[in-house]
């Protein structure tokens, strides 16, 4: 209880400002300063939100999107770790791939969507692939950076103790790189979440992006807004869950505890 109290005191502004904004918005709507067809009042949006939750529509679409993110991210992150470890440790591999990756990496994930639709249609495949591509790069980069910045002093200790390559990798290099990799994973999921919405906005028959596009065609601005805001909220939620997981897994990481 004490904790919550002190948290409130410190972060009071974080709550006060949105409440203030919402009240001004609500008042402006009531007074007819804003056209409801363009921007409905917060209370009207909240009502639609409740309806969409009650009908289950919102969570079904969100659930589908989250499932896609989960699948695509697992594939992308797995490949990212696999290739990242090789790139970080094998110089030949790094050189062989440097040009190809240099060209491919800066391509925004969204640019792949038309290509993938042509190749794979608008089914699950193309969406999951988009997510996989997006998370692949972020995880790859963090794995390479994490491994290459492992303190040489840690490696020397293992060398002196005559550890083999496998022990060196699994007991020293990967654990040391884990905080950096975890940061990459968090950014990667963020990217994945953004790209799934983008992919669904362009072509889909389900998912939160589809719900937004469909409502737009029916000019249901309130549903569109509920959809857009729920994307943001889900993003925050996922990030917080990952932070929690990170604190669990990286108990030893003192830098984490201090922040």
């Amino acid at each position: 209880m004490k904790k919550i109290g002190s948290w409130l005191r410190e972060n009071l502004l974080a709550l006060v400002v949105p409440i203030l904004l919402l009240s001004v918005w609500e008042a402006a709507g009531q007074l007819g300063w804003i056209r409801a067809a363009l921007l409905p009042r917060p209370s009207a949006i909240a009502q639609v939100l409740v309806e969409l939750i009650a009908s289950g529509e919102l969570f079904i679409h969100l659930g589908i999107s989250i499932l896609r993110v989960g699948q695509g991210f697992l594939i992308g992150a797995f490949l990212g770790v696999l290739v990242g470890v090789q790139i970080a440790l094998v110089k030949k591999f790094r050189i062989a791939l440097s040009l190809i990756f240099g060209v491919l990496r800066p391509i925004p994930v969204i640019a792949w969507i038309p290509v993938l639709i042509l190749w794979m249609g608008i089914d699950e495949g193309s969406k999951i692939t988009v997510i996989a591509i997006g998370s692949f790069w972020t995880v790859l980069v963090s794995v390479v950076q994490g491994i290459r910045s492992v303190d040489k002093k840690y490696l020397e200790v293992a060398t002196i103790l005559e550890k083999d390559q496998k022990t060196l990798l699994t007991k020293v290099v990967l654990p040391a790189a884990l905080p950096a990799i975890f940061t990459g994973v968090r950014v990667g999921i963020d990217v994945a979440w953004r790209s799934v919405v983008a992919a669904e906005l362009i072509a889909a028959a389900s998912g939160i992006g589809y719900m937004i596009m469909y409502a737009r065609e029916l000019s249901q601005i309130d549903v569109v807004l509920v959809g857009v805001l729920s994307i943001g909220l889900t993003g925050v939620l996922i990030d917080q869950l990952l932070l929690l997981l990170e604190k669990r897994l990286l108990k030893w990481n003192v830098n984490l505890h201090e922040s």
Partner: protein, 263 residues
């Protein structure tokens, strides 16, 4: 019990010279070092900073490989790292993601059963007086405690030679003195050969059977001074002070004369 047949071995350093290449320049670091360390002997090495003391230990450990001269442990020519030589660095270099007991266990090879591993780790934590911290993480320990864990990790393989590179340099004066007593106790219990680098002349005398004084770069072994004082040693005894004077004059005969030193 231990995997290394523990017949004591002499450490022999013969005509050792080392230079580093920095861009196109060569920096001569060690110049023709000869030293023979008998089994179970405690040798302290002092010298001006940057003269190559760490480099010398790293060569004995097998971490540096391009040099002139030879290093033998018994009949074995040293070509790279082996667990018969343990090393402790100035920083404890514990793995922050492992508990204290797992850090110590990391020192052990594969060829131990789980129970054996547990027993050896427990024994060594006992040896350095940290049994109750087995489950703690390194960041929960003080600098001196971390360094004791590092010593335990270096000892689990029962090395013939223990290399200590300014292991107490980062500790405060009080902790340092208690660590010096600790290391003597461990040395007497384990009977390993110890090579200790330090920048603290008192520490060198307090601990060593002999003190090697190195010159500035390129370093030679300028003087090797036997310390024939009974243990435990008294830092304020007349003999101790005499030895300190000898080493001071040796140490500073070439290095800049200090503004003042009063003993």
């Amino acid at each position: 019990m231990s995997m290394i047949a523990a017949s004591p071995q002499t450490l022999t350093i013969k005509g050792l010279s080392k230079r580093f290449q920095i861009d196109n320049d060569f920096v001569e670091v060690l110049n023709d070092i000869d030293l023979e360390v008998t089994p179970g002997e405690f040798v302290s090495i002092i010298g001006p900073s940057g003269c190559g003391k760490s480099t010398l230990l790293r060569m004995v450990a097998g971490l540096e490989q391009e040099y002139q001269g030879e290093i033998y442990l018994g009949d074995e020519l040293i070509k790279g790292p082996r667990v018969n030589r343990g090393m402790v660095f100035q920083e404890a270099r514990l793995y922050p993601w492992l508990t204290i007991e797992n850090n110590v266990a990391f020192g052990l090879g594969h060829h131990h059963s789980a129970e054996e591993k547990k027993r050896i780790v427990a024994e060594h934590l006992e040896l350095v007086g940290l049994s109750s911290f087995a489950k703690a993480y390194p960041h929960q320990l003080s600098g001196g405690m971390q360094q004791r864990v590092s010593i335990a990790r270096a000892l689990v393989n029962r090395p013939q030679v223990l290399l200590l590179d300014e292991p107490f340099g980062a500790l405060d004066a009080m902790t340092r003195i208690s660590m010096q007593q600790e290391i003597i106790r461990i040395w007497e219990a384990e009977k390993t050969t110890i090579l200790l680098v330090t920048h603290d002349i008192d520490e060198a005398i307090f601990l060593g059977d002999r003190v090697v004084v190195m010159s500035k770069r390129p370093a030679t072994a300028k003087a090797v001074i036997p310390i024939d004082l009974p243990r435990p040693r008294d830092r304020n005894s007349y003999e101790f002070v005499q030895v300190r004077k000898t080493i001071y004059s040796n140490f500073f005969s070439e290095v800049e004369v200090p503004f003042s030193y009063s003993i």
